[in-house]
């Protein structure tokens, strides 16, 4: 088989892969994703199986029987746990747009860029051996195939790698893979870091792997031998081989088996490529379910023939051929050219798949979590001023891919030959296992802090390096073997593979033990030493409680910043490219029901959304950095709290005021209603008053008219009658006049239109004057008038004429109701408290209790039911009362005829006001 043919077929296969990827990408862009099936997802997970599985397992089986198997049992068992774990990781990753392991860890521990960077470094260094392993496998298999039909197989001796590097086929393999990866994964930037084409290609190559391996397996089992049973039967006959059939050969120890199981459980999730495929590239949560059993099924299927092939190869070749190559050399030895080529392609496929996904994942991490954060912090790079940086991101990624692959090659040259493939791979597994405490701790323990994570990772990494990596160099001759055998600086306790004297563990178990101890120990100790700060606690909450928190896209739990869309849009354009940024913003605007992107409200939600988008391109730590530079973030400081409180206080005050107003309103309404009722009442009273007044007026008019008419009609009325009638007319006229006057007076007083004077008076003087004026009346009636005045003056402020009016009213009433002859009226003035009291007491019939209020009513007069109708208007007392009350006094009557006491005492009081300065 010529080199050209092999290379041609290889490139043809790679081209097929590329074509599939391209087609799948095109379909994805058109919205009809090919990979949206759970079986594709499950197959893509099989990228876990690399040339390690393809070649290395057989090699391992040849040494330790089923000891190769824990690496696959581990993932199977892990799938059982993954129902919860993976789902949680998926949700968190989607919600926070986490695009790599580094992103995940950085985001969880307070968006720490330092942590992201550390994880990236560990990941790169840890995975480099794994890449070296692929290169070794491919170049080795290539070399073997080239010598077909001769089996020129390199033994453990490093024959071929002694070739200078520029001739070394491994280098070219490396470069080819690097270029291929660049074509695969860095054609453009995707905010979600998804590569549909890559996933499709991986799924395809998983099938190819399985097919090729199964083909070999079948060939060996049924082509060379008579079935698996035949192989085993023959193996039993050879004592060396027989032991491989038993548990005794399996890794040699329980601890080894357990260690491998554990470390593979971690790796199936935490290897960068696994994380990429399982979490980042995941299209839908529902795919997870099927993958949980399909993937283990795949593992089972691809491993069934491993032991038979190993045994078969040993039977054929014994120890002369490197067992890692049995899958290839067995067909070759039996002149199966086609099959050998198929096997080679299968191996190439496995290697390619691994390198592509792994380096893409790693380059993403390097770009987002290592280089960009550093670059953005260096102002002299002027990155903030550039309008579009997407080209830069792609460039960084491409360079990273090349560098990583070359690192893999370097490791291959330095240390690759000393180890079997599996052993190299396990070094990477142990490295990746260092992520387990921080990641699982981060998922389930809110107490993990950034410093704890840093401490744990660093400690674990250092121990790993010391106990596995350095020894690997030592075993390859780049470090003195003394280091291995006598410990660092000659200190026995620091023997890298027997640290502190711990023996009996194989090197992986040993490394795991110490590194996990250091890692978990440091993580716990440092995390618990200090409480998480606000940001860490916030992120911890979001991660650990991810199932309970409703993750709505755009939700902004912890941003309190604001930024205008004019600031955010250029930022997004810069890192996502104009088209994608615009599309994303438009869809967000539509979701919010806003017509145009420009009208989006500049709130915390928008900021969070923008940050999410950026995180897809830059990683969350860098995204936060960029956003922070643009956004005016207001930490919820005292002022803001006060503002919020203020607002709340204002709102409460307003609502309180509102309540008060409405209360006042209802009160006012009530009052209005009452006033209305009163007005209606008064209206009625007015009507009554008017009707009464008109009645009172008409009564005297009746006599006046009647007599007047009669006098006019009959001139022959005699003189006596004539004089009588005229007298009545005159009297009635006077009565009428008096009535009209009083009515007007009362109306004026009641309506407040009366004119009041405020004179400084002495009550004694007023009373005296009034009695003198009525003296004549009393004399005519022969009623005794008794005047009792005090020594001291009784100064009041009142209207003199009005007071006289009151006195006249009272006196004339007294005179009216006094019995003649024995009638006696006592008029007195006295001082009582701060008031002057004037009393007019007669010894008439008195006024019954029931009538005492009535007499003060308008037009009502006492004595209706006894003596004839008294002369008078019935308005005197009401007017008097009004007058007295106007000056702050009261007018009452004391009388109790029912108890036998005769007479009525009308008295009024006025407040005494001392003479003011004149």
């Amino acid at each position: 088989m010529s080199q050209a043919a092999i290379i041609a077929v290889s490139f043809a296969y790679l081209a097929v892969l590329f074509a599939i990827a391209y087609w799948a990408d095109r379909r994805a862009d058109a919205g009809r994703s090919v990979i949206n099936r759970s079986s594709i997802y499950a197959l893509s997970l099989a990228v876990y199986c690399t040339t390690w599985t393809y070649y290395g397992s057989v090699g391992r089986a040849a040494i330790s029987g089923i000891g190769f198997l824990p690496i696959y049992l581990g993932p199977t068992l892990m799938m059982g746990l993954c129902w919860f774990v993976m789902l949680k990781m998926l949700r968190i990753a989607k919600a926070h747009r986490l695009t790599s392991i580094a992103d995940f860890v950085a985001a969880r521990y307070g968006k720490s860029q330092l942590l992201g960077g550390l994880v990236t470094v560990i990941a790169v260094l840890g995975v480099v051996p794994y890449i070296a392993l692929q290169l070794k496998a491919v170049s080795g298999s290539l070399n073997i195939l080239l010598h077909y039909p001769e089996i020129v197989v390199p033994t453990r001796a490093a024959a071929l790698s002694a070739a200078p590097w520029h001739v070394d086929s491994a280098l070219y393999v490396a470069l080819t893979l690097a270029v291929f990866t660049i074509l695969f994964g860095t054609r453009h930037l995707d905010a979600s870091e998804r590569h549909e084409g890559m996933v499709a290609a991986i799924a395809f190559e998983s099938l190819v792997k399985l097919l090729a391996f199964t083909a070999v397996g079948l060939f060996v089992s049924f082509g060379i031998y008579d079935g698996i049973g035949d192989i085993f039967a023959r193996a039993r006959l050879e004592p060396d081989l027989a032991q491989l059939l038993g548990a005794g050969g399996a890794g040699g120890s329980a601890s080894g088996w357990a260690a491998l199981t554990f470390v593979s459980m971690m790796s199936v999730l935490l290897l960068p490529r696994q994380f990429q495929i399982a979490i980042v590239e995941n299209v839908g949560e529902n795919h997870l379910r099927r993958a949980l059993w399909m993937f283990p099924l795949y593992l089972l299927a691809i491993n069934i023939f491993v032991l038979p092939i190993a045994l078969g190869g040993l039977l054929v070749f014994g120890n002369s051929v490197d067992a890692d190559t049995f899958v290839l050399t067995l067909p070759m030895a039996h002149h199966q050219q086609g099959l050998a080529l198929l096997v080679f392609i299968g191996g190439l496929s496995a290697a390619t798949g691994m390198v592509i996904v792994e380096t893409i994942a790693l380059s993403t991490m390097v770009c987002n979590d290592l280089v960009m954060p550093l670059a953005l912090r260096l102002p002299w790079l002027g990155l903030n001023q550039r309008a579009d940086l997407s080209w830069l991101l792609l460039l960084i990624r491409r360079c990273a891919i090349v560098i990583i692959v070359l690192l893999g090659y370097a490791y291959f040259r330095l240390a690759g030959e000393a180890y079997a493939l599996v052993a190299i791979g396990l070094i990477s597994f142990a490295a990746v296992a260092q992520f387990a405490p921080v990641i699982f701790g981060g998922l389930y323990w809110k107490g993990g802090t950034r410093h704890g994570a840093l401490a744990g990772l660093s400690a674990g990494f250092l121990v790993w390096a010391y106990t596995l990596v350095l020894p690997s160099f030592a075993k390859s001759g780049w470090l003195s073997r003394d280091f291995l055998e006598q410990g660092a600086f000659g200190i026995g306790l620091l023997k890298p593979q027997q640290l502190f004297g711990l023996t009996g563990l194989d090197e992986i178990a040993h490394c795991l033990f110490w590194s996990m101890l250091a890692n978990v120990g440091a993580y716990l100790a440092v995390s618990l030493a200090r409480a998480p700060d606000a940001r860490e606690a916030g992120q911890a909450l979001l991660f650990v409680d991810a199932h309970r928190l409703a993750q709505v896209p755009g939700r902004a739990p912890f941003w309190r910043g604001r930024a205008e869309i004019e600031q955010l849009a250029p930022l997004l354009n810069r890192f996502l490219g104009r088209e994608r940024a615009q599309a994303a913003l438009e869809s967000y605007a539509r979701r919010k029901g806003v017509a145009a992107v420009e009208e989006l409200p500049a709130d915390a939600e928008l900021v969070a959304y923008a940050e999410n988008l950026l995180a897809g391109a830059l990683g969350s730590a860098s995204a936060r950095l960029m956003m922070a530079s643009v956004v005016e973030e207001e930490p919820l400081g005292l002022e803001e709290v006060l503002n919020i409180l203020d607002e709340a206080h204002q709102v409460r005050a307003y609502s309180h005021e509102l309540e008060q107003r409405s209360q006042e309103l209802s009160l006012a309404t009530q009052e209005l209603r009452a006033a209305n009722l009163r007005l209606q009442e008064l209206d009625r009273l007015k009507d009554d008053f008017i009707s009464t007044v008109s009645h009172e007026l008409r009564t005297p008019l009746t006599s006046i008219r009647a007599f007047s008419e009669m006098l006019r009609e009959d001139p022959k009325i005699d003189l006596v009658d004539r004089r009588k009638f005229l007298g009545i007319i005159v009297a009635e006229t006077q009565r009428l006049t008096r009535l009209i006057d009083q009515v007007l007076d009362l109306a004026k007083i009641e309506s407040g239109n009366a004119e009041w004077r405020a004179d400084q008076l002495d009550l004694r003087e007023v009373v005296q004057a009034a009695t003198e004026a009525t003296a004549q009346l009393f004399k005519e009636r022969r009623i005794a008038l008794d005047l009792q005045l005090p020594q001291r003056p009784a100064p009041v402020v009142a209207d003199r004429d009005r007071l006289i009016q009151v006195m006249m009213n009272l006196l004339s009433n007294a005179a009216k109701f006094c019995a003649g002859d024995e009638g006696r009226v006592v008029v007195s003035v006295r001082e009582d408290d701060a008031a002057g009291v004037v009393s007019v007491a007669d010894n008439g019939p008195g006024i019954e209790r029931g009538d005492q209020a009535v007499i003060f009513e308008k037009f009502r007069q006492g004595g209706d039911s006894t003596t004839g109708k008294p002369h008078g208007t019935g308005l005197g007392l009401p007017i008097s009362r009004q007058i007295i009350e106007h000056f702050g006094g009261q007018l009452h009557v004391d009388s109790a005829p029912e108890s036998g006491r005769r007479g009525a005492d009308f008295w009024f009081s006025l407040p005494l006001k001392a003479a003011s300065v004149n």
């Binding site: 068992l77 059982g80 049973g229 035949d230 085993f232 399996a250 088996w257 357990a258 283990p296």
Partner: protein, 66 residues
């Protein structure tokens, strides 16, 4: 969501079962010299157990309408 939790718990139980079945204390019990249908007992056991676990997982996951 309860059915999810049930499925998850069942799968976790399968995990525990597998950890026991496919780990050393049990493995060392298997007589390495015996053959089952021409296949070494250990090999047969491991693959059978493995297959069985997977079958259990299928049953738990693909179960419709609990």
């Amino acid at each position: 969501m309860n059915r999810q939790r049930l499925t998850g718990s069942r799968l976790a139980a399968i995990f525990l079962l597998g950890s026991v079945l496919l780990n050393y204390p049990l493995l060392s019990l298997i007589d390495s010299q015996a053959d089952v249908l021409g296949v070494p007992a250990l090999y047969a056991y491991v693959f059978a157990a493995w297959g069985g676990l997977i079958a259990l997982m299928v049953a738990v996951i693909e179960r419709r309408g609990g």
